[in-house]
Symmetry: C2
Subunit: 311 residues, 2 copies
């Protein structure tokens, strides 16, 4: 059983409008709603691959009920969310049908109380220490009220329990989390540059390891993944540029890395799985989903190149 | 006890963003949520005036639960909504803090089944025939699945029960509803022009009465209300142009008309109340609310002019 943590879960709404005109009134022609937040997205990809996965974090208010109802309908996902008094946030993507462009609105998230945070921590410790837990992913932003050092604490709990832990966040929560020595961090190029002050992925991944991460897997868009690890440094690329919607590609990469980490696969195989899942997500017609046959086909076609020795 | 009917209830969301930029990602800095739909707005104004009011229509899904929770928190409002399987719609107003402009998104509303419509009709008949029911307002658009002649039927039920009925809708539901001879219809200038084909309010209100309405009260924005009734024709105006947000001004006018209708006040007093409430809503800092002291002050300052005899 893998565990994903989403402290700032969401209900993701998508509105389709004929054309977006600022300051006008729009008739929404199609409304879609699905469970969201990065760790929830990772869990859905893992479940689609046939893995059992437990989801934790916070859920509150009517949006929290809606989120939990969506999760209950998904096979292979166990809901271990901690109740919160304040409502789970929504995210809204408004799709302009005339151009295909998307305008995004993100609510800030619930104000988690110290008491709720304490209840979550107890629950998280139990989940991490449960005998069947094989790997943990800590994903996404922190809602207001959660301490900025939250991920550092969650990393330490996982490491003390001997469970591999992957961290995918940004800004100050990433900076503090890295210092707690997670097994893997998966920043994108922008997040890595903010963390290290360097725009050069080679230099920046080296710096991120020096800051504490055992392995750094940087997602570089069309250039695939650059992984700097205790076992070596690799670049993994899709066989050709993939056209489509990059929404959720990073979460699919995390799902690939986490499942391969839980299985104890060597790094090149982890990277092949992550790049294939990520590219299959970009190519899928629905944002955040992946196409299983594209994924299977890509598994044999992702290229992995050994880079300079680990710095 | 007054009754308001909102077949297409809503949860009204307001997002504040620093500036609206199409195709960009926005951090929402403030989220407000309140119960919505025109009849619900009318009920909230009536309750704020100290009247007991019952709200009916449909509520479904998690948004329906949210709507009902909001209504339960309002004093003097009784929730008599009929459950529906499909979720109540949301409306979203995105306020651009840099300009104050609003961009509006309206979900289409739930697909009401024939069985749900039948359950509502039974409940509505009971509510209208209850001994304490003094007046009924039928407000707003029809959700998908509700027959286009719905308001005509609801008007007939109220008239058969001897309860005064006011209709505030638009398009084909208004056209059919007017033919069922409601006591009052309250179109705005655009709705009246669509109904009658005339841009001239004098001519158009006369035509709307010919189509079946006993009284027609046209809301003409800054020009106040033009009322053509069996007792005479009047124009009621605020003492000076009111600056502010016109959202909800029409619903406040309906609340003023309905309460005065329930009390059996003569037409000029009904119009004074409606114009004062409407202007106090435009002047209020929060959209759709009204300022009680502005309302009290305006009650003595609205002017009512007798127009040509009823045509």
């Amino acid at each position: 059983m893998m565990l994903t943590v989403t402290l700032n879960t969401a209900v993701d709404l998508t509105y389709r409008v004929p054309a977006l005109t600022p300051h006008a009134s729009h008739r929404v022609t199609d409304v879609r709603e699905r469970p969201g937040g990065k760790g929830v997205n990772v869990a859905r990809v893992l479940a689609a691959l046939g893995h059992d996965v437990t989801v934790t974090g916070f859920a509150g208010g009517d949006t929290g009920l809606s989120l939990r109802a969506h999760l209950a309908a998904e096979p292979r996902i166990t809901d271990a969310l901690t109740p919160a008094a304040t409502a789970t946030r929504r995210t809204l993507a408004v799709v302009d049908a005339s151009t295909g462009d998307t305008t995004q609105f993100n609510e800030p998230g619930p104000d988690i109380t110290p008491a709720e945070w304490a209840v979550f921590l107890d629950s998280y410790e139990d989940l991490v220490r449960a005998p069947g837990t094989t790997a943990v992913a800590l994903c996404g932003s922190l809602p207001p009220g959660v301490p900025v050092g939250a991920y550092a604490l969650l990393v330490r709990v996982a490491r003390a329990a001997g469970v591999p832990v992957l961290l995918d966040t940004s800004g100050e929560p990433l900076r503090r989390g890295v210092a707690a020595r997670p097994d893997v961090v998966k920043p994108n190029a922008d997040e890595l540059a903010v963390l290290t002050g360097s725009q050069d992925p080679e230099r920046a991944t080296r710096d991120a390891r020096r800051r504490g991460a055992h392995a750094v897997v940087a997602s570089l868009g069309a250039d695939g993944l650059l992984a700097r690890t205790p076992d070596g440094t690799w670049q993994a690329r899709p066989p050709a540029p993939v056209r489509g919607n990059p929404t959720g590609a990073g979460d699919s990469a995390v799902a690939g890395l986490l499942s391969a980490l839980a299985e104890g696969l060597p790094w090149p195989e982890r990277l092949v799985r992550a790049v294939a899942l990520s590219a299959a997500t970009v190519a899928a017609p629905v944002a955040g989903e992946f196409d299983p046959s594209t994924y299977e086909a890509l598994l044999t076609r992702v290229t992995v190149t050994t880079k300079a020795p680990t710095g």
